[in-house]
Subunit: 433 residues, 2 copies
């Protein structure tokens, strides 16, 4: 029986995280982690779910955009969309009037991601597979048909993508077996937020090591003296052998970034994340050149495959931090993972927020199994917030993601959570506003 998309519902869900300063950094002092939560209702047994991750104010704008974009697929069948996912993606991102509002960036693209990911979730559930399995079971040709290569053929062609995927084919089962045994290497950002006391940071580091973490990321950029103090704290707590990363959340201009990192180099950070504007390819390239061997990482606010292409072409990033909800969903993520492989840059997805960790575990598994064939120099971000609201929350064991086995893209939330945190009418917002 064909699965028909009958209705799309869109909800505005907000968690009052700013009350406890979870997630605070130099650019985002008071985020209320939020989500546009999309549900595709069908005539079948399954729903499809997707989210746009947001920080509070403006979630209502993304929700309205998701209604607008979602309207394009109501009445269609899942079979029609999945028969040519590349065409579906091109169509949904190319409406001749909406395109002016992007193209492929900002609110309209966040909303597109939520809708596109909900279709993938529905597809995976219908096939009774976790999303990573749906992807790793596809042939190279089938995968390439999911990608819109417009504007990236100067970096990767469909044939080159097939070549990369074909090379991984014979050994996929071994890598799946290994990941099921060891998990997907992760790192934690929980210890490094601004606004925590020295004691809390030390405690979180010690605790992290006991729980098997080997990578620790620290937010920097608000105040040099305090950053040196905090980096010294963390380096002392984790010792010389564990890995330390830094994250500036875009606070610097190019010259400032280079000068500032000169002062932090003695703590031997593996990377500096988001040293400047997420739009500044040439700026990142200049910083990369100046501060090597410290690497530059970026991607959580990189708007689309065209920007990622240039970051890779210009050797502007040494770590590619794809975000599952910023670019236009799984289709566009596939293009970026393949380009990163072609340019030899490891993919270390951006986690945190609401549901990002649930998403990215699937993407990292796909990358390791079907594309890069490697987990070296690849760590997937983990932040220990808000997982309790998901039906199938990601699980961490000994500093690694446990391979998820439930069907879908792991993004379905508990109805009680959706009701409690609904904005502005949910009880959480009634009690404490």
């Amino acid at each position: 029986m064909s699965v028909k998309i009958e209705e799309i519902s869109v909800r505005d869900i907000r968690f009052p995280t700013s009350r406890e300063r979870h997630g605070s950094d130099a650019m985002n002092p008071d985020p209320d982690y939020s989500a546009v939560y999309v549900t595709i209702h069908t005539n079948g047994n399954h729903t499809g779910n997707g989210i746009a991750f947001t920080l509070g104010r403006g979630t209502e704008l993304c929700a309205a955009a998701a209604e607008r974009v979602g309207a394009f697929i109501v009445g269609q069948t899942l079979e029609l969309l999945t028969a040519d996912m590349g065409k579906f993606w091109r169509t949904i991102t190319s409406d001749s009037q909406l395109r002016w509002l992007g193209p492929d960036k900002g609110i309209i693209h966040l909303a597109t991601a939520a809708i596109v990911n909900a279709v993938w979730d529905l597809w995976a559930k219908t096939e009774h597979k976790p999303l990573w399995k749906l992807l790793t079971d596809m042939s190279p040709k089938e995968l390439v048909r999911c990608i819109d290569f417009r504007y990236i053929t100067d970096a990767i062609t469909p044939d080159q993508a097939i070549e990369i995927l074909a090379a991984a084919e014979p050994t996929k089962p071994e890598r799946i077996a290994r990941l099921r045994e060891t998990g997907v290497p992760a790192y934690t950002t929980s210890a490094g937020w601004l606004g925590y006391s020295d004691e809390k940071i030390q405690h979180l580091c010690t605790d992290g090591i006991e729980n098997g973490w080997a990578h620790f990321k620290v937010k920097v950029g608000a105040n040099l003296e305090q950053d040196i103090h905090r980096l010294q704290l963390v380096r002392d707590a984790i010792g010389p052998d564990l890995t330390l990363m830094t994250d500036a959340n875009q606070v610097w201009d190019v010259a400032e970034a280079i000068e500032y990192m000169g002062h932090l180099a003695r703590f031997e950070p593996w990377w500096i994340e988001e040293p400047t504007s997420p739009d500044d390819i040439l700026g990142h390239a200049a910083i990369s050149k100046a501060i090597a061997p410290i690497g530059v990482a970026s991607g959580e606010m990189c708007q689309n495959r065209i920007l990622f292409k240039q970051f890779l072409q210009a050797s502007a990033i040494q770590f590619c931090q794809i975000d599952s909800c910023r670019v236009g969903g799984v289709n566009e993520v596939l293009a970026i993972i393949l380009m990163a492989k072609k340019f030899g840059v490891p993919v270390c997805p951006h986690g945190g927020g609401v549901g990002l960790c649930e998403h990215i575990q699937h993407l990292s598994i796909f990358d390791a199994v079907s594309v890069s064939q490697s987990i070296d120099d690849r760590v997937t971000e983990y932040v220990d917030h808000l997982h309790e609201h998901f039906l199938y929350p990601c699980k961490i064991d000994n500093g690694a993601y446990v391979v998820p086995e439930a069907p879908g893209y792991s993004i379905e939330m508990h109805e009680a959570s959706l009701e409690d945190y609904s904005f502005p009418d949910g009880p959480v917002w009634q009690d404490n506003q």
Copy 2:
């Protein structure tokens, strides 16, 4: 008496231009030229008006975003905002939660432009000056204080900007007098849309020459054979001495653009506009290098000063087509005009749509008077649509914009037009939907 901002009203105005295929090109087959129309109501004699230009569907999303951004300035005084316009701009674009939805791009930035431009319009009206006069009367220091230099100091510093502006100071009055005599050099896009018959194109060219036009732009990219036919038509009609430009509206990948323009080179186009994605700096640079001496022009969908900075740094464009409503209003436009001067690239603003021509005449005058000190190689786009809806429509005489003298940014619309074309309730949409 201080001018207090008491309320901001936002209206969704749409013109059914798709019914006659005005404005059709390879990427935009059926635009309904539309606008979010913002009015700042004060306790004084003046209102401030600004627009976000859109293509129809999704205008409601921009309108909601304008309400959201506009809320930040309700209750403030004009004096407070204009005392430090740079700080005002930084504040309005840096809300810690909304920033995630951009930053500085897409719907949220289009809405920001409408609000910011409405403040400039109000300021100019309060000073009883057309916007260009408000700008050209400012000292270099005052102008530089209007700009947020974040993320562009590697291309231009405040001191370098002051140096450029100071060099133009002594001779500003001469240039103003000359522009009032000769007008601001313009070019017309009216003849070159896709979808017009041969006869109509020939007629529009002959007519254009009679009316003093010397530059003719033709849309290309949908079909090579037809493009060659149309370019031959236009070149024959305008002769070898008048200037012909081409515009592909983003239809090509990088290699396609280079190959296609090889076929069109014999018609000696001055520039190819938007050969590929507006996000592809390195792609434009590769095309520029390959097709010289044909220049590459882009900007109408260039999202912000950070992208423009890189287009200039990479020698990726030879003509800088700022858009008055795409980047974040006058403040950000000032930054871009100054960077273009520093890199020696002429500014040729993007016109057309709703109200863009009304806006950009002011910007071109400011550029010529206070920054570039030149009108050589600079032409400002003119499209003859929808001007009748404005209180002070731009005027063309002998292929040049007549310097506007009415106070403000020329963007106030007739109340009757606002009512007739209001979407979805205006009579135009009731009758013909």
